[in-house]
């Protein structure tokens, strides 16, 4: 076993590192199961060339992919025309996926830390040794402190169900996902109002689109972004509320540079006008909406004039928007948004959005404008391996759900609270952290605190593809095969079943999460929760009720069970209707109606610190990808010319940005495309891991600035509520 000290150096494009080359060379002597299987299926010809269908994982949209393979290498990725999320196209990240698979910084062998945590010195180990160590440490923690002392966290992915088996089988309640950093506000609001986590959108007949944030043309969801452009090109009116002139705003019919944190004021005023002037779809509202009678009275306080004072948007504009929205009738769409972790009042913003949609009756538009069925709901009867019931868990969740946060669903959780609980030791001290496909070090606000929390852990194991920042601080790194090299459980989209399958042999010793979880589970005494021999066995068990042959699915990549979508309009709320008035909220002591919560505002001389997305990266996951690094804009702090002039700075000058919890030095981009009271920092940069040789120390990390705020209702983060000062450096 060799010591592997990860020094910083540059590598040329698509060259494998020495270790992996050796592994590949050795592997070349062994039979190539993936290639053999694909040849048998007729997907690869005698030379090993051909196309294999699979699914992307460069973001969570999971477009269908056709991977072009030549001589056992992926040479090109194409969108699968048969997949509803790609429709034959892939965004920059999807196209670049092979550069992640062939990234020289891939972790290809299990690693065990040597030296101090964060020192970056690991030794290679066998799977047996690494898994034995991990299991023994986890069991040790379980014995000494109880299962609950083990935190499990993973950003949602296709193997989540088996991750959860580890979690629940082990008996820990402490489940961290990225959700509270992202969409708790949206999901909670729509669950309460519509009874779905995330209603699906359909742009076929839309005529008026109101985007609150949701920078769809940069936070690209391939098919939805394309559909939006199609609608705009067709003549649909697009209104964008955003303090920043994003690329989506650039394509909008109208850009409203609204004051951050005040979206709900504008939306409530729109609702007010619509109900006051009786512009809503009364028939629909009467039939399907709870609270329609009292709504006008409730909303009457939110006048356009009042909203102007809050938002900075002229009252006449607000009135006009309300009229235009209403005039589109069932062809209006107030987009639910996605990452809605902006302000504490983002939950209310989402409630207002849900209400606006309810008033339009757009659910009735054929195909949806906003369909009540969530895209995640399937109705497809998938099988699963048998398993026993989970052990009863009595310990409180560290994240305060539901005992401090009664309205946050267990599935969503509050990730940042877990981190804080680790620091505080309240209600009890966590001792171990098992992380998979996640980078909490970068993702959770107040990075210094997260690193401190890591310091308090007795044991950290991370399942990862690259030596990401959290892996860098791990005690054990378990190499997952990249998405082009592995099976995952099937994905159901639009009622159809899609397969992810390996298109090349897994490089080095990397393995699928399905097998990592199983092998670890067996050592934890949880073998009964992993009753599958291998990935294919798992998949066959999934497909059994459908009567689909896995071999057939490998060829086409998709299976259509022929479900007919129901015409029935169903809202899974307590009342069975759209609960604009929510008794659930009232019972918990909150406003039953969408309401105005005055947001915090920066002091004079301070700026709102905005965050967002870029089309060339996925949050903090892709900065090491050389193809994306080539096409990215250099990370900058956006600053309005008035603010820049005051400080005597020009584009590319260094400034110091200081928040209540941290300070960074970053180069500016002076631009008109932002409100003068705002700055925007390109997110996802400033990696700490020297194992990411392209991304290391490139740019700065916004988690070094963000203050941790948690909405008491939805548990969501409030990333734009951090205010900063900016000085010339």
């Amino acid at each position: 076993m060799t010591d592997r000290n990860l020094a910083v150096s540059r590598r040329s494009f698509l060259k494998l590192s020495g270790a992996s080359m050796g592994a590949l060379a050795a592997g070349a002597l062994l039979p190539a199961p993936v290639a053999e299987a694909a040849r048998r299926a007729g997907l690869l010809d005698a030379d090993g060339d051909g196309y294999l269908p699979t699914m992307c994982e460069m973001c969570v949209w999971r477009c269908g992919v056709r991977a072009k393979v030549r001589n056992g290498r992926v040479v090109k990725l194409e969108g699968n025309p048969d997949h509803p999320h790609s429709r034959g196209r892939l965004c920059a990240r999807g196209q670049s996926g092979l550069a992640t698979t062939y990234d020289p910084d891939r972790v290809l062998k299990p690693l065990i830390r040597v030296g101090p945590r964060g020192g970056g010195v690991f030794r290679e180990a066998t799977w047996d040794e690494a898994l034995d160590l991990t299991a023994s440490k986890m069991l040790e923690i379980k014995e000494k402190y109880g299962s609950e002392a083990m935190v499990f966290s993973s950003t949602h992915n296709l193997s989540q169900v088996q991750f959860e088996n580890l979690l629940y089988g082990f008996g820990s309640p402490n489940y961290g996902t990225q959700r509270s950093l992202c969409f708790n506000a949206m999901v909670t609001a729509f669950l309460m109002t519509y009874g779905v986590e995330e209603p699906s959108r359909n742009y076929d007949e839309v005529q008026f689109i109101l985007l609150t944030g949701r920078n769809l043309l940069e936070a690209i969801s391939t098919s939805e972004s394309a559909e939006l452009m199609e609608a705009v090109a067709r003549g649909a009116k697009l209104v964008v509320l955003d303090p920043r002139f994003t690329k989506t705003a650039a394509k909008a019919t109208e850009w409203i540079p609204i004051r951050p944190g005040t979206d709900s004021a504008l939306l409530l005023a729109m609702i007010n006008i619509i109900v006051a002037e009786r512009l809503a779809d009364c028939e629909f509202v009467k039939r399907y909406v709870v609270g329609c009678d009292e709504l006008p009275q409730e909303m009457s306080r939110y006048t356009p004039h009042w909203a102007e004072s809050k938002t900075g948007v002229p009252a006449a504009t607000i009135t006009r928007l309300a009229h235009e929205y209403a005039a589109a009738g069932r062809h209006a769409l107030a987009h639910p948004g996605w990452r809605t972790s902006n302000f504490i009042n983002s939950f209310q913003t989402e409630r207002a959005i849900a209400t606006l949609n309810a008033l339009s009756g757009n659910v009735l538009t054929p195909g949806g404008c906003l369909a009540a069925d969530s895209p995640e709901a399937s109705g497809v009867p998938l099988g699963k391996p048998p398993q026993p019931a989970y052990p009863r868990v009595t310990a409180l969740r560290l994240d305060g759900v539901p005992w401090q946060y009664p309205l946050v669903s267990l599935k969503l959780g509050i990730f940042q609270n877990i981190r804080d609980a680790i620091l505080s030791g309240q209600p009890y001290q966590a001792h171990g952290w098992f992380v998979s496909r996640q980078n909490p070090v970068q993702a959770i606000p107040e990075r210094a605190k997260t690193l401190e929390a890591i310091g308090k852990m007795d044991f950290i194991a991370v399942v990862d593809v690259l030596m990401n920042d959290t892996s860098w601080f791990a005690d054990v790194v378990l190499p997952e095969a990249s998405y082009l090299e592995r099976y995952d459980p099937v994905n159901v989209v639009d009622g159809k079943v899609f397969l992810r399958q390996p298109v090349i042999e897994p490089q080095g010793d990397s393995r699928s999460a399905l097998m990592i979880y199983k092998d670890l589970g067996e050592r934890l005494g949880l073998a009964d929760y992993f009753q599958y021999a291998d990935e294919e066995d798992y998949l066959r068990q999934q497909l059994a009720p459908l009567g689909v042959d896995l071999e057939q699915l490998k060829i086409t990549g998709r299976y259509d069970p022929g479900l007919v979508p129901s015409d029935e309009i169903v809202f899974n709320t307590p009342s069975g209707k759209i609960e604009v008035y929510s008794a659930t909220l009232a019972n918990a002591g909150y406003s039953a109606w969408p309401t105005w919560d005055e947001p915090q505002a920066p002091a004079p001389g301070e700026f709102y610190l905005l965050t967002g997305k870029v089309g060339q990266h996925t949050q903090m996951a892709t900065q090491n990808n050389k193809l994306l690094h080539e096409v990215e804009d250099p990370p900058r702090l956006w600053l309005h010319p008035s603010a820049a002039g005051e400080r005597g700075v020009q584009t590319d000058d260094l400034v110091r940005v200081t928040s209540p919890i941290g300070s960074v030095q970053v180069r500016v981009l002076v631009t008109e495309a932002i409100r003068p009271d705002c700055v925007y920092l390109t997110p996802g940069y400033g990696h700490l891991s020297k194992g990411l040789r392209t991304a290391y120390a490139h740019g700065v990390c916004d988690s070094d600035l963000h203050v941790t705020y948690t909405d008491p209702i939805s548990g969501g983060q409030a990333l734009s509520q951090t205010f900063v000062t900016v000085e010339k450096a």
Binding site: R89, S225, A226, M229, L627, L628, E630, V631, R675
Partner: protein, 246 residues
């Protein structure tokens, strides 16, 4: 007789969202080394003052001109406008790497590939088009901005787009006897921005010397020699053949 193809691009300027998927797709499809590119998305920048702003993007690649200045200066015939379909192609094995074509292009569409040592440029993904696929950039365009097809086919994507266009521009370059007549048509947007305007072809001193001096000089020299010998030969014939000298 079948009408020949006229392949080209239509770019709907209003639909480019600067996602750069096309840039990545082209690089992967055509093994373009990092630091170089066959295609670009030109950023026109944020125009106007807050809050009345515009921000446009112009996808751009080799124009596959009707009258390509690059083809004219190639010493080895390594680049040509294919008579079957109009794409301007490069036979990299025949290229001697003189770079005259790179300098002659008004659109800076060509570059020296550091790995192959010879010229590289957009080839319309002819290797894909031949098997019925779209060029890589077009196939993956999220906004639906990039279109490709045969202008001589009224049912092609490009012909349909042109018919439905609200506005139409080309980045034509005309000067003297040069009139490139590019085969990229920009619709629904204004691309007449000096940041992306084409420039006059640069003809190197060597190429000008070759064309204006070396060729006439050599032809004159050979011509003189030929004429001289022809005259001598004529004299010889008139004098009759002498077996023996007197």
């Amino acid at each position: 007789m079948a009408v020949k193809k006229r392949y080209g691009f239509v770019i709907d300027v209003s639909r480019c969202i600067d996602c750069r998927a096309c840039l990545v797709a082209c690089r992967v499809e055509n093994n373009v080394p990092l630091g170089y590119s066959r295609i670009w998305v030109k950023d026109l920048g944020v125009q106007g003052t807050y809050p009345d702003l515009q921000h446009g993007f112009v996808p751009h690649n080799c124009m596959h001109c009707q009258h390509p200045p690059c083809v004219e200066v190639c010493p080895s015939g390594a680049t040509w406008k294919d008579p079957a379909h109009g794409l301007v192609l490069v036979d990299t094995a025949a290229c001697i790497g003189c770079r005259q074509c790179i300098l002659a292009c008004p659109y800076d569409a060509r570059f020296t590939n550091p790995e192959t040592h010879v010229v590289d440029k957009c080839n319309g993904c002819i290797q894909r088009v031949e098997i019925g696929l779209q060029p890589a950039c077009v196939a993956t365009c999220i906004g639906g901005s990039r279109l490709f097809g045969d202008f001589n086919d009224p049912a092609s994507d490009v012909s349909v787009a042109l018919r439905g266009a609200r506005s139409l521009q080309r980045l034509d370059f005309t000067q003297g006897e040069i009139d490139t007549q590019p085969n990229i048509f920009y619709i629904n947007g204004d691309v007449q921005d000096k940041s992306i305007a084409p420039h006059a072809p640069q003809y190197t001193a060597a190429e000008s010397f070759w064309r204006k001096f070396a060729i006439p000089a050599v032809l004159t020299g050979i011509g003189a020699a030929a004429i001289g010998q022809a005259a001598a030969f004529t004299k010889q014939l008139l004098d009759g053949e002498k077996e023996f000298e007197e």
